[in-house]
């Protein structure tokens, strides 16, 4: 390690020490934005994924639309949201970023839910119907509990993806940890950029670990993952 690198490392540590409150505040903003978007995305994506298993032609259409949305580059999607939401005077700030993140999360969540429920052993579904479960009982007592690992994998993908994409939200005025990177670049403060990158990575990894833990708690031991 040469002198220059050592200095950078020290600067980053120093930056963390001096700006802890600011970084925590940005982290809270980031978590707030991504968290709300994911909750809404789950409320849309999981029921939709389950419904799609009963309607094959719609499943093809919806999965195609979701995968095209996924293809749109993140900065372009954020960019498209800005003029569209300025039509209702919300062009810059929370709302366009929030909607863009919801749209991005749809593909992994819908696809995993759809595939998971579709792959429930038909004999198990038949048994559930045959012993007299109602549709709701079958979905909540049999189909979802037996597919939690796959559904959760989709949600985890969406969360990690959104934490990364959430960085770009800073560029359309929605705040979050992207601020560190945006301001670091414009001011040429390398320590700020590195601090931002580290915080975002740590956030992504801890979110993934937390969700894995949740998944372990909520998955029955009888279900192989």
């Amino acid at each position: 390690m040469n002198n220059n690198d050592e200095n950078t490392l020290l600067q980053v540590i120093e930056y963390f020490q001096e700006n802890m409150d600011f970084i925590l505040e940005l982290t809270a903003e980031h978590v707030n934005l991504v968290g709300l978007a994911i909750i809404v995305a789950i409320l849309i994506g999981v029921p939709l994924g389950i419904y799609l298993t009963t309607n094959d032609s719609l499943a093809g259409t919806v999965l195609n639309i979701a995968s095209v949305i996924m293809t749109i580059p993140s900065i372009a999607l954020f960019g498209l949201m800005v003029p569209i939401f300025s039509l209702i005077n919300q062009g810059i700030g929370f709302l366009p970023a929030f909607i863009a993140l919801i749209l991005y999360s749809q593909l992994p969540i819908i696809r995993n839910t759809y595939t998971a429920i579709n792959n429930v052993d038909p004999e198990i579904r038949d048994a559930a119907i045959g012993i007299g479960m109602s549709t709701t009982q079958r979905i909540f007592r049999v189909e979802i509990p037996n597919t939690i690992p796959v559904i959760m994998a989709g949600i985890r993908t969406a969360v990690v993806l959104n934490i990364g994409i959430g960085v770009i939200a800073a560029f359309i005025g929605a705040g979050g940890l992207g601020i560190l990177i945006q301001q670091g670049i414009t001011r040429g403060h390398q320590d700020m950029v590195i601090a931002g990158a580290i915080t975002i990575s740590v956030l992504g990894i801890s979110a993934d670990l937390f969700l894995r833990l949740l998944q372990r708690i909520f998955t029955s031991k009888g279900v192989s993952s």
Partner: protein, 318 residues
């Protein structure tokens, strides 16, 4: 009692899966729906709890038309066992066994009593299995759980769709015997799908033999073997129908016709409840080519040899 009244099922425009089938399963009886794959036997079974729709005709359960009943309640009132056992992987054995009582809103104590009683019925340890999951059990154990889950709410009728089909032959024999012993106590009205003639002969009080959606013959196993109604039935029961018929007759049948030979003390002995197939096996294995027959009190009532069985069978088929 399950009554099929002129049942027809048509897929699409003109594919007849079931063609004008009528028969009745009497209370406490096992009726085996038998036939090659695609003959409509499973479709017929699944019509009872309305997993399949009926195009024409009606099925009556204890005199009431099933088409008027709420299908969820109807299903909860009928036991249902399928080949792959259909146990829910996410639930413990206890939860699986008591799922129907749970859906019916039984209280905790009643469920617990029922769970214990059922586990004892199939000889599985109450505590040992309680918290275990289906994948931790052997195939035979899983299938026993599948059977008692269907019995949990004590339904008068049960539908069993090739329930022992996935088990290997030795385990299957054992589970079949256990189930027959349970049925002797419980007297359920049972509809049982099978493609195996030997299983049908063993399990059925009556057999409904199907081909291409039509009922070929509905009769006791003995009559199906001895008086096949047509060419198809003859072929389906096979060249060895004489040997098969051995397994449905008991030594007692010969005894009651007073046709046993004189009392002899021989090396091997069989009881009156032994079926003729097993008795024949014992005769062929014995040194004297004959066996002593004993009654329930272990008193000798006669002896039996190959000629005795041969004579009995030839009189049946003539």
């Amino acid at each position: 009692m399950i009554e099929y009244k002129d049942i027809t099922k048509v897929y699409g425009e003109d594919v007849k899966a079931v063609d004008d089938v009528s028969f009745t399963v009497e209370d406490g009886e096992i009726v085996v729906l038998l036939g090659p794959s695609g003959c409509g036997k499973t479709t017929l079974l699944r019509m009872v709890n309305r997993l399949e729709s009926i195009t024409e005709g009606d099925i009556l359960l204890d005199g009431k038309s099933t088409s008027n009943l709420n299908e969820i309640e109807l299903r909860r009132g009928i036991g249902y066992v399928i080949q792959s056992n259909g146990l829910f992987p996410n639930m413990t054995i206890e939860q699986n066994v008591t799922i129907v009582p749970h859906l019916l809103g039984w209280d905790k104590q009643k469920k617990e009593e029922r769970y214990q009683k059922l586990m004892k019925l199939v000889g599985l340890d109450v505590e040992d299995f309680r918290k275990r999951f289906p994948h931790e059990l052997s195939g035979g154990q899983q299938q026993r759980i599948g059977v008692i889950r269907a019995l949990a709410a004590d339904p008068p009728a049960m539908l069993m769709d090739e329930p022992f089909g996935a088990l290997d032959p030795i385990i299957r024999e054992k589970v079949q015997d256990e189930f027959l012993a349970i049925q002797k106590e419980l007297h359920k009205t049972i509809l049982f799908v099978s493609h195996d003639i030997n299983e049908a002969i063993k399990m059925g009080d009556k057999i409904a033999l199907m081909k291409d959606g039509q009922l070929m013959q509905y009769d006791t196993p003995a009559n199906i073997l001895q008086n096949p109604a047509n060419e198809f039935v003859t072929q389906f029961v096979g060249q060895d129908r004489t040997i098969k018929s051995l397994s449905i007759h008991m030594v007692n049948d010969i005894y009651s016709q007073n046709k046993l030979k004189e009392n002899k003390k021989l090396a091997k002995q069989v009881s009156l409840n032994t079926n003729l197939r097993d008795a024949l096996g014992a005769i062929l294995e014995s040194k004297e080519q004959a066996v002593t027959v004993v009654n329930g009190q272990n008193e000798t009532v006669g002896s039996l040899d190959f000629d005795g069985i041969n004579q009995f069978i030839s009189e049946l088929t003539s």
